[in-house]
């Protein structure tokens, strides 16, 4: 089947892109001012530690050997030790990655679905007061400065009203309790998740809604919509079964294109809400000049974006038979 071939092709492309990113990082690292050894060396390290590190990274060997070692270290999951935590970077990353994926995927999926659903409805009532209100409101929302709206929502929903916790992903006092059930844990995480999720959705939904609305207005002019009406279908059937599936396709494309942008927003949201994700870790590592952690965090974020892109492509192909067959 064609779909499999497409997935295969896209996966290869993604591998190539990722390889280029890895290489780019290596080049940047060596272009940076200062001695690579000193960049990778922490003040607390003993001379033996430094020697071992130099050996491991091949910093005393020619550049291309260093490059090969760099790639080898990457594929072995050896990213060095974080200066700040004093622990292997890979441990920190594997702790942070699930939190990011949880926030990022739920936010993206929710925002896209809400945007498609609302856009579909308001496009159908085009020109009415509801349409005007929702359009202007989503225009406003989509240009809100994300960190600011995050601060505001913490101030209002968490500080003033007290509906949600101020920050973090879990309540440590609860989690230390013995025999804490799965559902109690899940509820606690969900409670922490809601506010950052809401913030991300406010900003992203507006943009998707506007795309869905205009795409829907274009689709309504298509001939198959007239066919569907002529067949005697109800307006709701025409809208949901004939117009919406076609109109949603550009929204999916734009979800794919805005993934990088969403990752920026995700990192900012994680930072403001102290959500223990990989984006916050990157920003944190950058502030502390924790090179190994910063580099590795970036690599994994790039990987998340690329994989998410692949998933969006597959979803598009699944929804548009013209690609699939």
């Amino acid at each position: 089947m064609n779909l499999k071939r497409m997935i295969f092709k896209r996966s290869i492309e993604i591998l190539v892109v990722f390889f280029i990113i890895l290489t780019g990082l290596f080049v940047l690292f060596h272009l940076a001012p200062g001695d690579p050894v000193s960049m990778m060396v922490d003040l607390t390290m003993t001379p033996e530690d430094v020697d071992r590190l130099v050996q491991q990274l091949g910093l005393d060997r020619p550049l291309w050997t260093q490059y090969l070692l760099y790639l080898k270290n990457f594929f072995r999951g050896n990213f060095g030790t974080s200066f700040h935590y004093g622990r292997p970077v890979i441990e920190i990353i594997s702790e942070r990655l699930p939190a990011t994926i949880l926030l990022f995927t739920t936010a993206t999926i929710l925002a896209a679905m809400a945007g498609v659903w609302c856009g579909k409805l308001i496009a159908w009532h085009k020109g009415g007061p509801l349409d005007a209100t929702v359009t202007i409101f989503s225009l406003l929302c989509s240009t809100l400065f994300l960190p600011w709206i995050a601060l505001l929502s913490i101030w209002f929903f968490a500080f003033r009203v007290g509906w949600f916790p101020l920050s973090g992903m879990i309540t440590p006092e609860i989690w230390v309790l013995p025999n804490l059930g799965f559902w109690a844990k899940a509820t606690d995480i969900l409670h922490h998740l809601l506010l950052p999720l809401l913030t991300l959705c406010i900003v992203n939904t507006g943009a998707y809604l506007l795309i869905m609305r205009s795409s829907m207005l274009e689709t309504i002019k298509e001939d198959y919509i007239i066919t569907a009406r002529a067949k005697g279908l109800t307006e709701k059937q025409v809208r949901n079964h004939h117009a919406a599936p076609n109109a949603a396709l550009p929204v999916i494309t734009s979800v794919g294109l805005s993934l990088a942008f969403s990752v920026n927003g995700g990192a900012l949201t994680e930072t403001v809400f102290s959500w223990p994700g990989i984006g916050r870790e990157l920003i944190f590592a950058v502030s502390n000049s924790d090179y190994p952690l910063a580099m590795a965090s970036f690599m994994f974020i790039a990987l998340v974006v690329l994989v998410a892109n692949l998933i969006v492509d597959i979803l598009y192909a699944y929804l548009d038979p013209r690609i699939r067959y």
Binding site: T143, A260, L306
Partner: protein, 312 residues
Amino acid sequence: MQSKTETGKHERHSYRAKLLIDAWRLFHDNLIGRIGVCLLIVFGLMALLSYIPPHVDPMYHPMTGVDPEISYASPPSTRHWLGTDNIGRDILSQLLTGARVAFLVGISSAFISIVIGTLIGIVAAYWGKMLDGLLMRFADMVMVMPSLLVILLLSVLFGQLSIWTIVILIALFRWPAVARVIRSQTLSLKQRPFIDMARVAGASHLRIIFRHILPNVLPMALLYMTFRITSAIIVEAALSFLGFGDPNTVSWGMMLQWVWKTGHMFQAPYWLLPPGLCISFMTLSFYMMGRAMEEVLDPRLRRVRNAKHAAA
């Protein structure tokens, strides 16, 4: 012969002038565009006014001016219309300066990115084949890069970034969308007979590009510039918010960082609200202007409602 080309030129000029007038009229009729322009004028005035406060009294200097009597965050008063920050600097004058910085970052970075994007788009479409494939793959790759995070990474490797480095870096990550649009426009232009005619007449590649293609893709490039401005402003604000802005300038993002990092976000709404509102409304106004321009430039969007059926 001479006079004939002269009149041709004249006609073309008057035709262009008419197009411009039509475009302006359409733009003027567009409510969203009008709101956008009005908001922008307000921000423009803010940027201009930013030069005044430091002349009134040195304590109104946005960076170095400190009120000798106030060394804590104070709410709005007659002395400080929008209050002061935690070390007694005037929030209003910071806000005004922030408008200037936002314009500077937004416009210069957007300009650079559309220059890069337009050139790459035209080159890719004009020469096609391998080069086109390579350039567009490259564009795709840059497009999936989370620009904010890459710039952060660069700042850890290369140290503190100045405002101009930030401007250029933002531009370097924001050209692919422009390149794609300009490429497809150039591709359709290439099909038109006048390009072939120019080629047959012996025009050089450079002449064809600059005389015949560039003027035709320029409106689209300008449209994309407004969208690039919004994203440049947002990225700069986010960088400053995270504490990686140029420490020698005040920007709105930096003001938000100060509120946040000094722990005043729960106590000082007069400090938290203005910079965020300004960033949001400035991006909104450029975005609105862009949408309105899009409607003017893209006849597809402008099409009279149901014209298709009315004609049938």
